[in-house]
């Protein structure tokens, strides 16, 4: 079983140091107003954030998930995407080279999802994580276009073609993305296909369509939105990280805790980044962080709707703020304009949220 996004005690301890940082901007907000609200983000913010990011998390092309103490295809994909957005071809190349060499080692043509420094060999499970492959392919397409590189585009093409062969599966809702090529089908689970709605990287689909038109990306998007709409569990009407889709409407997958957690938190970021603005889709996420009280977002026990631990990291608040913007054009909270040093995952989501806002909703900045 793949268990991702472990919320360890270590993370919570680590964040204890980060959260007080909120005190300062909150006080500033209550003080005299600055002469003019700043518009947009300061020039060079992304390049600066990317440099800091590389320093913290990238080791010779390998992106380190410092909390889980591993590297994975998703991290490689995120970093490649940020690199190309930041215009850092050298950095991009280094990460891509490492990824190709260390993760694309299976005849399936897809990246092994996990890489452990301590293990030997480093890859012990050759299964893929579909979102990682999608992110890598998307970043390659962006890079190929930006730096006029056929090599990147060919690589992207090859990944997409492998995805089409292995993880795009039929479902009553339409074509769906299996989370990995092994272990998620109806044969593997009594409650049906096990899916992860945060693997639907909606903002990538438009780009992927251009390179792999043989795949029904519009159908994939529609099935994702439909499943998302049908996956409103418990009083908080939120999706669980993992859902099972059998003959009945989707339900929290039995092999995972019925929780809204570190996976599903990315869903509103992808919706907003793709400019999918249906209020009924965005609304359940937009209230997850109360910015006045700086409360949340929480992991949530879905059957009861009860709050569990706070999702550890400023970046998760940035994701919720992005949803608030997409839903109601609410301005980004001033504290989120600055990327504080944090753990790999929330820092990544923070940067991606700001990119999404800059690309799609500059009026919220």
């Amino acid at each position: 079983m793949i268990t991702r996004r472990l919320a360890s005690l270590a993370l919570v301890l680590l964040l204890a140091a980060v959260i007080p940082a909120f005190g300062a901007p909150a006080q500033r907000r209550d003080g005299p107003m600055p002469p003019a609200m700043p518009q947009g983000l300061p020039a060079g913010w992304l390049e600066a954030a990317w440099e800091a990011y590389k320093k913290h998390f990238v080791r010779s092309g390998r992106v380190v998930d410092d909390v889980n103490r591993i590297s994975h295809s998703e991290g490689q994909g995120y970093a490649m995407l940020i690199a190309v957005k930041a215009g850092d071809r050298t950095g991009f190349d280094e990460i891509w080279r490492w990824t190709k060499q260390e993760l694309f080692i299976d005849p399936s043509g897809l990246a092994a999802w996990q890489w452990k420094e301590q293990a030997s060999p480093h890859v012990t499970d050759k299964n893929n994580a579909t979102d990682g492959d999608i992110l890598i392919a998307w970043a390659l397409i962006e890079a190929g276009e930006k730096w006029k590189s056929a090599e990147y585009v060919d690589a992207a093409r090859s990944i997409l073609s492998a995805l089409g062969r292995t993880v795009i599966a039929p479902n009553e809702a339409g074509p769906v993305l299996l989370p990995g090529r092994l272990g998620f089908s109806v044969e593997d689970h009594s409650d049906g296909q096990v899916l992860n709605l945060s693997y639907w990287v909606f903002p990538a689909f438009e780009r992927l369509r251009g390179l792999a038109p043989e795949i029904d990306w519009a159908g994939v998007q529609a099935s994702g939105l439909r499943l998302l709409r049908e996956s409103r569990f418990g009083p908080m009407r939120l999706p669980s990280d993992w859902i099972a889709v059998g003959s009945a409407p989707p339900a929290p997958a039995k092999s995972f805790p019925p929780r809204f957690s570190y996976n599903a938190i990315r869903i509103p970021l992808y919706l907003a980044w793709a400019k999918i603005e249906q209020p009924d889709l965005l609304r359940p996420f937009a209230g997850l962080w109360n910015e006045k009280l700086n409360l949340g977002p929480f992991e949530i026990e879905l059957p009861s709707g009860s709050a569990l631990d706070t999702l550890g990291g400023v970046g998760f608040k940035a994701v919720v703020a992005t949803a608030k913007c997409a839903l109601a054009r609410q301005k980004l909270h001033a504290s989120l304009r600055i990327i504080e040093p944090g753990a790999y995952y929330p820092t990544t989501l923070h940067i991606l949220s700001l990119i999404a806002l800059q690309e799609r909703y500059p009026e919220c900045l």
Partner: protein, 617 residues
């Protein structure tokens, strides 16, 4: 082509394809389908079951394309909304205060909601949070926009808006409430259009699509369906539908209007069964009292215009008369007057008209009373009354002129007092009555006051140029030896009116005799002996020698065909000899052959002499 594009394409094509294969009268109708059954608001009321009431006829229900709001998505079209767990209001112990929870949810403050749930769960481990916390927050912005369009009746734009959203996200759908109301409203628009176009079959077909539509929430639609049922000959179902409304719908105004509409479309005996369903009001009267009275009034009206129609039941009539007397309904008293009048019950009619006049100043009552008086031979009273009311209604002024005109043109009118003449002249002038002017003309002519006669005939011709008026004018001009006017009148009217032309021929003959010159042959009167006899008859008529004129015409008829003008002369001769029935028969024949103002007048006067009843019509 992507699947989505294919679906959208099919979504557009499907209705057209169905239209192309559609059948019969329903082809041009678009039929929205109902996704979710009837409106929730009408849950306590079972709608009228039109389908069960009608004989099954597959040809009328097939072929109308269904056009659901959410088209082109196959099974998604009929996808049920995600089932919601029932609210746990019975499970939650009363002591758990959920007000904060609900407040946070109303703010969409999910962070505080989940924290509050955690707090309440810790305090009350068996408590289950309500599952409907966020229900009210569903899609308010988009859906509100749709409701705004809905309120403005911009249905096409709703379809466009929904299609646009669904093009991006095929799983999105408006609320079921919206879909139901929208599709019903759109169906309603089509039904009303079909109803306005008198397409009864279309109305019924559309009504069958949405069984929930025939409910008290839309009585207008039920009225239209009932009307369509009647138009298609299904009176029984229409009656059932009206009965349904009266049994189920509470709104007093709508109930009253229902019976009123039914009374206009259904025979009285059926309407009476509907009226019987009226609720008793505090005073003991039926809520449909007014309709019942209207129905009775209509029945009385039918009786008046067609005395052979089914008579109003005597008991109902007596009740009505009692009510009219008690409430002093002047207009109803007038109605009862006309009923008696139509039955030739002149005294009865006079009594009701007089009664009505005593209650209210109703011109129709005065008119009826004057007519009834005249029928009873009380001509002087009739004339006085009509004169008194002459300004109330042009018809009364006309009646007054008729009464006086008849008196003035009696064969021997005797001397008419000056005051009566002058007030007659006044009314005739006021209403510019050609008939009245002509009557005055003849009166003066017959009393040898030719100057006055000429003056009135001039007015008569000015107001209405007909043969008699022109003839009168020419004769009067001749008598006052105004040759210029005489010739002018002949020249102006001779071609149109043969009697006038005949006068000219007669005049020329006289002139010829005097001058010993040859005569010009009159065109219409025939030459030789026949022509001479025609001119003689005209001369005799002009001199008031009607019997002689008739004799001459008889002799002439033996040797020549009598033309229209001479026949009119014969008619008037008969008339002046008081042989009204013969005059009327002749005028009727002439009028049938060739209707002129003269034949019409002849017919009118001779008829009125024989049966003055209808003079006021």
């Amino acid at each position: 082509m992507s699947v989505k594009r294919m679906i959208l394409f099919l979504g557009c094509v499907a209705p057209v394809a169905l239209l192309a294969t559609g059948s019969s009268s329903a082809e041009t109708l678009r039929r929205p389908s109902l996704l979710q059954g009837q409106a929730s608001g009408a849950a306590q009321e079972t709608p009228f079951n039109l389908r069960a009431a009608l004989p099954a006829d597959p040809t009328t229900t097939q072929g109308i394309p269904r056009s659901p709001l959410l088209s082109g998505t196959g099974s998604l079209t009929n996808a049920q909304p995600q089932p919601r767990a029932p609210a746990n209001i019975n499970v939650a112990p009363a002591k758990v205060d959920e007000s904060a929870l609900r407040f946070y949810a109303s703010q969409n403050d999910a962070a505080r909601v989940s924290m509050e749930i955690r707090r309440l769960k810790a305090l009350h481990p068996t408590w289950e949070p309500p599952s409907n916390l966020f229900e009210e927050a569903r899609d308010p912005t988009i859906e509100q926009g749709l409701w705004d369009l809905f309120a403005a009746g911009r249905f096409d734009e709703i379809r466009t808006a929904v299609a646009e959203i669904r093009a991006q996200d095929p799983t999105w759908r408006p609320s079921d409430d919206f879909i139901t109301k929208f599709e019903r409203a759109e169906l309603r628009v089509q039904l009303v259009a079909a109803s306005d176009a008198k397409d009864a079959a279309g109305v019924l077909t559309l009504a069958e699509f949405d069984p929930g539509m025939l409910a008290c929430s839309d009585i207008d639609v039920m009225w239209r369906v009932a009307e369509a049922l009647i138009q298609t000959g299904d009176q029984a179902r229409a009656q059932e539908l009206y009965r349904y409304i009266l049994s189920n719908c509470a709104d007093p105004a709508a109930r009253l209007a229902t019976v009123q509409k039914a009374s206009e479309l259904l025979p009285p005996e059926i309407v009476k069964t509907l009226i019987a369903m009226g609720r008793r009001q505090p005073g003991g009267m039926s809520e449909f009292e007014a309709v019942q009275l209207d129905l009775l009034r209509r029945q009385i009206g039918s009786s008046i215009s067609d005395p052979t129609s089914q008579p109003v039941p005597v008991a109902e009539l007596r009740k009505f008369e009692a009510l009219v007397t008690q409430k002093k309904f002047a207009n109803d008293a007038v109605l009862l007057g006309w009923l008696r009048y139509s039955q030739k019950d002149w005294p009865g009619a006079a009594q009701w008209f007089k009664q009505a006049m005593s209650w209210e100043r109703v011109p129709k009552a005065a008119e009826g009373y004057a007519l009834a008086l005249r029928q009873q031979g009380q001509l002087q009273e009739a004339e006085e009354l009509a004169y008194e009311w002459r300004d109330a209604d042009p018809l009364i002024a006309k009646l007054y002129v008729e009464i006086v005109a008849m008196a003035l043109t009696e064969p021997n009118p005797g001397t008419v007092e000056a005051g009566r003449l002058s007030r007659t002249a006044g009314v005739v002038e006021t209403v510019k009555s050609a008939m009245g002017a002509q009557a005055l003309g003849w009166y003066y002519y017959n009393t040898s006051a030719y100057q006055e006669a000429q003056s009135w005939f001039s007015k008569a011709v000015a107001w209405e140029a007909n043969e008699t008026n022109a003839l009168g004018l020419a004769l009067a001009a001749h008598q006052v030896k105004d040759q210029a006017l005489f010739r002018k009148t002949i020249a102006q009217y001779g071609e149109r009116f043969p009697a006038v032309a005949a006068l000219e021929a007669y005049n020329q003959k006289v002139a010829a005799k005097t001058a010993r010159r040859g005569t010009r042959r009159g065109g219409g009167q025939g030459g030789g002996r026949a022509g001479q006899m025609a001119r003689e008859a005209v001369a005799q008529f002009k001199d008031g020698k009607y019997r002689e004129a008739l004799a001459t015409l008889e002799q002439r008829a033996a040797i020549a065909r009598e033309d229209h003008g001479l026949s009119v002369l014969r008619g008037w001769s008969l008339y002046h000899l008081s042989q009204y029935d013969k005059a009327r028969t002749l005028f009727a024949e002439l009028d049938k052959k060739r209707s002129t103002r003269d034949t019409q007048y002849g017919l009118y006067y001779s008829s009125s002499k024989l049966d003055p009843t209808h003079l006021g019509d």
